[in-house]
């Protein structure tokens, strides 16, 4: 009697997280250098705190204090 060969369990698909992240970072840098003056700072943008279309030719970033 032959021992049953252990079937190879299905491996979870490999996710290429790091290369994707690197690619995104590179794209962000490329996009950033084209438009921003020095210093280059990555601005986080909260969608709810934005008015107007993404494609607008003029972007105003307002830093304000409510008090």
């Amino acid at each position: 009697m032959v021992n049953r060969v252990r079937s190879t369990t299905a491996r979870p698909p490999r996710v290429y997280t790091i290369p994707t992240a690197l690619l995104l970072a590179a794209l962000t840098l490329i996009a950033g250098t084209g438009t921003a003056q020095t210093p280059v700072v990555d601005l986080s943008v909260e969608p709810g705190m934005v008015k107007g279309p993404r494609a607008a030719p003029v972007t105003i970033v307002e830093f304000s204090d409510y008090q």
Partner: protein
């Protein structure tokens, strides 16, 4: 904004000054309202009621802005958006912003409360540069 419909995008960033001790909770509160899609109505209420930003005030504005109470209070009390507000402050400092309000119009700074005419000029120049 209406005047430049479609041509201007406004990004609001939190920059509560350290000397304004009521500002930080107000900024966090606005983001709590934003979590249910009511950022701008809440933002307008804060500016209209400046500087009445005690906790009870912040909760009252939420109700006025149509934000469900329980979720809002929880969000406010657990400081859910404290990090997000702090990140905005860090970004402001990294950009060399040191006073409020500061506007970057296509990266060109306009510092302080200016008459609307100065904004028109700055926006028109930015539009011209794009042509």
């Amino acid at each position: 904004m209406k005047e430049y419909d479609g041509r201007v995008r406004l990004i609001f960033k939190d920059f509560p000054l350290p000397s304004h001790d009521l500002a930080r909770p107000a900024h966090e509160a606005a983001r709590c309202a934003g979590a249910v899609g009511r950022y701008w109505p809440y933002h307008d209420l804060l500016f209209a009621n400046q500087p009445k930003f005690e906790r009870a005030d912040l909760v009252r504005y939420a109700l006025e802005a149509g934000v469900p109470r329980d979720g809002f209070v929880k969000c406010l009390d657990e400081h859910r958006f404290a990090t997000a507000v702090a990140d905005d402050v860090s970004q402001a400092r990294a950009l060399g912003v040191s006073s409020t309000p500061t506007f970057l119009i296509n990266n060109r700074p306009l510092v302080g409360a200016h008459p609307i005419e100065n904004f028109r000029t700055a926006i028109d120049e930015a539009l011209q540069d794009k042509k």
